[in-house]
Structures are given as C-alpha cells and as structure tokens.
C-alpha cells in the first residue's frame, strides 16, 4: 500500500508519531530509513510539534526528596491545572451533592491532590539526580525539546542537556573556571538558528570584577570557549533566571556605581570569538532608579519580555541583597521590544502582606503562584482583577514551593544523533 504513498505523505504521517517512536520507524525499510535520516525531517518534525506544545512542570516532593517532572497538554487555555479539575467527576445529580462538595476538598487532598486525582499529565523520568539530597536542579531553560539543567553542589557544577521526548541526555564537560564559580554564575540557554546550534552561556564574576567572563558551550562543537565582555559591560545580575527573546539571552541587572540604575542586559546568541558584546534594554522608567530589583524576575509572555515580582518600596541597606520591603507585586510587559514607553503594567497581584512568586502564566490569563509564608500552601491559582472574596485558589499541589517550575515544552528529535547516555 505504501508503495504508492509518496514520500511527502509518509513524512506527514511520521511527524505525527511521538518522538520516541520515530527511531523505531527507521527499521521498517530502507526508504523510511532514508526519509527519517534526512536532516530536513527533524526540522519538519519540530515545525509540526511546535503547533502542539506542552507545559513542563517540576516539583520537589518533600517527603521522598524526589524531583518530579511532568508534561501537561496545553491545547486548553485552562491548562495546566484547570481551576476546578477536582469537580470534573462530581455526580451533579446526586441528592447529597452539597455534602459531597464539602467533603471533596479533603478527599482530593487525601488522594494526593492534582497528581493523585487527575490523569491529564505524563510522568517523565529525569536521568539525573542532584548530588545533594532534597536539592533540585536549576533549570536554565528549555528550547526545541531540549532542557538545560545545572546541579550546583560543593565546589563545582554539573551541566546537563536532556530531551525527555526521546529520552536522550548528556552531561556536558566542565568549563575553565568551574571551581571559582560558586555564588557568582548566571546562565542562559538558547537556540541559534543561523548555525542550527544550541548554546549554554555562563557569566562568571571573578575577583570582584563587575565585568563578567563569558563561557559559551556550543552543542555542535561539544566544547566551551571563553570570552571577555566589552569593558563598559559592568553589571550586577539580579534575576535568578534568564529568558531568550529575539535570539538573545536577557537578565535583569543593575549598574555597580553608587547612583546605579536598573536595566535588562542582553546577550546575542550569535556572539562568538574572544570578545563578546552585551546590549542594554531599559526597564520601566518608574523602576529605573529604584533599589535593585532583586525581588523581581524576568519572563516571556506571548513572545513579549515580561517583568514580574515585588517592586521595592524604599532602599534599606541591610548589607544583603534581600530587600523585603516591597511596594507591590506587579506584572509588566514590554509591548514593543526595546521601546521603554511601551512597558505596560498589566496588573497588580494582591494577596495581602505575603511575598509572592509567579511560577507561570496560563493562556487564559490566570497565574500560578506560590506564597512565601510559614504555612506551605503549595501551588496556587491567582485570577487577576477578580471580584472574588479571596483571589487565589488552592490547587492541592504540594511540594517545596521554591522548586515549582513551569515552562513550555515541545517534542523534538534534538540530541538523537549525539553520543548520549540514556
């Protein structure tokens, strides 16, 4: 039958097969083997899977110390973690409905919350365990199905690349100054289209120098190279994470002089050679002269650069970077890249006095947040501009609050051909 199916239609079928089944199809016949081996196939596969993205979620189970990764379909704007997932199977014609509803919250909690009651997710098996018990990996980023993680422990870091959709992974070799990197490393991970390459960028601040050494790992070469930034590139990085927008990695930072100003620092993934260049993107005018934005973080929302978190109230020199006097928690998006006037405050997150961390943004406009207080509330759903009495909802997702991580994910065949481990 398939002798009359033209190659393009065999490809149309194969790009719809789950990534980890594709290698099996190579064994069917020479024609299929050659179709799949063609580098164009992986590109076509990725283009198709980008239309069917997932959400990647990570949490640390405090009882077992295990780091758990799950994949959630994202076709529904309510996903992941729909507001009333636990009401799905409720029998609404049951005369004891109101009694069942009262009991339901406890039942759901007893069953293990979302991950005990719902089946709308796929469990992933991370091939790496952190060296320190009850610790979790720093997930630098995920692009085209490839997840980049760092395990910081003791005097050196381990770096990993992992593609869960085909279950391939590899540990990267170590860069030069790995033993000096302890508290002063910042990372970014992205895809550079012109060279079809994946790069892990590490900023290292040595000897109290404010201009970093830039280590770049490229997957195509399998090695690191070191570069120096331009002398005027003096920044103190404030954001723990980074994002990739317009082919460049962005971090939140401030300049080191006394009359400092806050800004976003960008590093183009096309940078190569011994000297690399940083560019600057402005933050909202009102935040520019404020104390360092160490309680804020950087994200991407619908392709737009986003700033969210606790805006500082006034500067209190406690000798540390953790300034907890926050004015409000807000979400800002930069509607036009690099145009300072286009920064728009979308809304304020109002949950009282607690410190809030935004874990992720749902397509329906709701937020997934955690609150930093003594009662470990787990992951919460927050509806901005809501008229409800209490704006956040318990999702019954437990775990170490600091460990919650949410990002987009697409299936791909990246890392298939590399010399990888399982």
């Amino acid at each position: 039958m398939s002798d009359y199916l033209p190659a393009e239609l065999i490809v149309e079928i194969l790009i719809r097969v789950p990534a980890k089944i594709v290698p099996r199809c190579k064994c069917v016949c020479k024609r299929w083997n050659s179709l799949i081996s063609n580098p164009h196939f992986a590109t076509t596969y990725l283009a198709h899977s980008k239309q069917r993205p997932y959400h990647l979620f990570r949490r640390l189970d405090q009882e077992t110390g295990e780091e758990l990764f799950t994949l959630h379909p994202s076709d529904n704007p309510d996903n992941p973690f729909p507001r009333n997932y636990h009401l799905k199977n409720l029998n609404r014609s049951d005369p004891a409905l109101h009694i069942n509803l009262l009991r339901l919250a406890q039942e759901v909690k007893d069953k293990g919350g979302f991950f005990g009651c719902s089946s709308d997710y796929i469990k992933l098996h991370c091939p790496y365990k952190t060296r320190y018990y009850q610790y979790f990996h720093q997930i630098v980023g995920s692009v085209n199905g490839l997840i980049c993680m760092v395990d910081s422990y003791s005097i050196d870091d381990n770096y990993y690349l992992w593609n869960p959709s085909i279950n391939r992974s590899m540990q990267l070799p170590r860069p030069k100054y790995h033993d000096q990197s302890r508290s002063n490393s910042f990372f970014g991970f992205g895809y550079h289209a012109p060279t079809d390459d994946y790069k892990l960028v590490r900023l290292v601040y040595l000897n109290n120098c404010n201009s970093p050494v830039v280590d770049i790992y490229t997957l195509n070469t399998g090695g690191w190279c070191s570069a120096k930034a331009q002398p005027s590139a003096q920044y103190i990085i404030d954001s723990f994470g980074s994002v990739v927008v317009n082919g460049a990695i962005h971090w939140l930072a401030h300049t080191p002089e006394d009359a400092h100003h806050n800004l976003i620092v960008s590093f183009d993934l096309g940078n190569e050679g011994n000297e690399v260049v940083f560019h600057e993107v402005p933050v909202p005018k009102i935040l520019e002269g404020a104390p360092p934005l160490s309680m804020m973080n950087i994200a991407v929302l619908n392709g737009l650069l986003t700033l969210h978190g606790g805006q500082p109230e006034k500067y209190v020199d406690r000798g540390g970077r953790d300034d907890r006097l926050v004015k409000e928690h807000a979400v800002w998006v930069m509607k036009e890249y690099n145009v300072v006037k286009s920064w728009t405050k979308l809304y304020v997150i109002d949950v009282g006095e607690n410190f809030v961390r935004v874990v992720g943004f749902k397509k329906n406009g709701e937020l997934l947040i955690t609150m930093d207080d003594d009662k470990d509330k787990g992951l919460l759903l927050y509806a901005p501009n809501s008229r409800r009495g209490r704006p956040y909802t318990d999702l019954y997702i437990s775990g170490l609050s600091r460990s919650f991580y949410l990002d987009n994910y697409v299936e791909s065949l990246v890392l298939w051909k590399k010399n990888t481990e399982k």
Binding site: I13, L14, I21, K26, W32
Partner: protein, 238 residues
C-alpha cells in the same frame, strides 16, 4: 429557487457530484479553480475515485463554516463525528490521505495522518510493514545495525504493582527474563507490561542484574539465565 451557488465535481470513474460552493471551497485546490473562474463546467478530479470523493465531501460538509444551522456545532461534537468518520478500512484511510493532499483539505489531511500515526505508535517494525504492505529490503546485517544504533528506542515499559512506576528497559535486557521474553514473543502489544508480584526495589535490582548479563552475553553465544530470572518465575512474597 435556490440562490446557493453550486459547483459540479467529477470523479476519476465518472461520478458526478453537485456541491455547494462554500462546502467545495474547504478544498484549497478547488477554491483556487473557482477563484480563477475555471469552475463553470464540471471540475474533473482524475486522482480521486467516486467513493473517496463522496467521503471527502461528507467531511467538508460537516466542517464547513457556513451560516446555516450546522455552524454552531461544538468542538466536542465535531471531534466525536471525526472519530466516527475516520473509522474506515486501512485502504480507504490511505486513499483519503492522498485525496486530502491532492485536494488540499488541511483538516482532513491532519485527521487522516494523525489516525495512521496513532496506529503506528503501538506497533513493532514488523507490524508496521504488514500494515503498509512494505517489503523488508534490509539485509539481516543492515537491519541489525539500524536496530542496534537505536536500541534504546525499543524499550519495553515494566510497571510494578503498587505504584505507577514504569521502568523503561531495552528489549534485549527484558528478554533475559524468561517470563517477559515469552510475553514479547507472543506479541504482547500493550506498551506497559504489568508485573503484579514485583515491587519497585526488587525490579530495580533485577534490571541491574540483567544489564550485566547482557553485557557479558555479548561475548558469549548463549545468554545465561540468572538467579534473577528464577526470582521472576516464582511468585515473590512482596
């Protein structure tokens, strides 16, 4: 008197179909012909038989976004209709793929290709060949090499009794265990093999042991069945 514009389509075997223009325009190919004013007479479609064309028209009718009562079909109802519609013979399915491609009906191409892809994911290479009527043109050595390069892709999932704890194991290793070997050879098509008598810890140890045996067996001619496989064949007191 009907003010609805119609077009005439003629299949490869001479069947004539009169279809509303809006329905016919679900096919980008036909849409192009209509817009180029080539649709006054019957449009000949030499690559599509009457049987298949009638199915394509059925699909287009159901999916057309016109302003009649059908347009308020909910997504769920449409999905249910699609599932029912696509429940056809494999031959018909392949013909529908060809027709959807030739007529450029994006939704139908997606539906038919995804259906075939879903069938493939449950099958071994041998079964895929049977499905597509493909002759295996690899020599045994060539096939062995492709398999070996991608051995990790032939993983069998083993699931233990208490927890949903799946272990993905290379086929060669799983075959070390007599019980599982039998299941595989009986073409156990379920993607997860449940092992009711084995807890995770024991299973982990067994898999480790099998790994070592496979590595050792690479230099021997015959795999040796270890203590581990005997453990599996006796019901374990968990």
């Amino acid at each position: 008197m009907s003010s609805v514009k119609k077009v005439t389509l003629k299949s490869s075997d001479g069947e004539i179909f009169e279809v509303e223009e809006t329905v016919a325009m679900e096919s980008q190919t036909i849409k192009g012909l209509i817009e180029d004013d080539c649709a006054d007479n019957a449009i000949p479609l030499p690559n599509v038989t009457g049987h298949i064309l009638s199915l394509v028209i059925q699909y287009c009718k159901e999916h057309t976004s016109s302003s009649d009562s059908n347009s308020s079909k909910s997504n769920e109802k449409l999905k249910a209709w699609d599932t029912q519609f696509i429940n056809v013979d494999l031959n018909v399915l392949f013909d529908l793929i060809m027709a959807a491609n030739y007529l450029n009906v994006k939704g139908l191409l997606d539906l038919t290709c995804q259906t075939v892809a879903d069938m493939i994911k449950e099958k071994t290479p041998e079964q895929i060949r049977a499905m597509f009527n493909i002759v295996n043109d690899f020599t045994p050595e060539e096939e062995e090499e492709v398999r070996r390069e991608n051995a990790w892709a032939f993983e069998i999932s083993l699931k233990n009794n208490n927890v949903v704890d799946t272990f993905e194991v290379e086929e060669s290793m799983a075959k070390e265990l007599q019980t599982i070997k039998n299941m595989i050879e009986d073409n156990y098509t379920d993607s997860v093999i449940p092992l009711h008598n084995v807890t995770s810890d024991i299973l982990e140890l067994v898999i480790e042991d099998c790994k070592k045996h496979v590595e050792a067996a690479e230099s021997e001619s015959e795999p040796s069945y270890s203590l581990a496989s005997k453990l599996i064949d006796d019901p374990l007191k968990a």
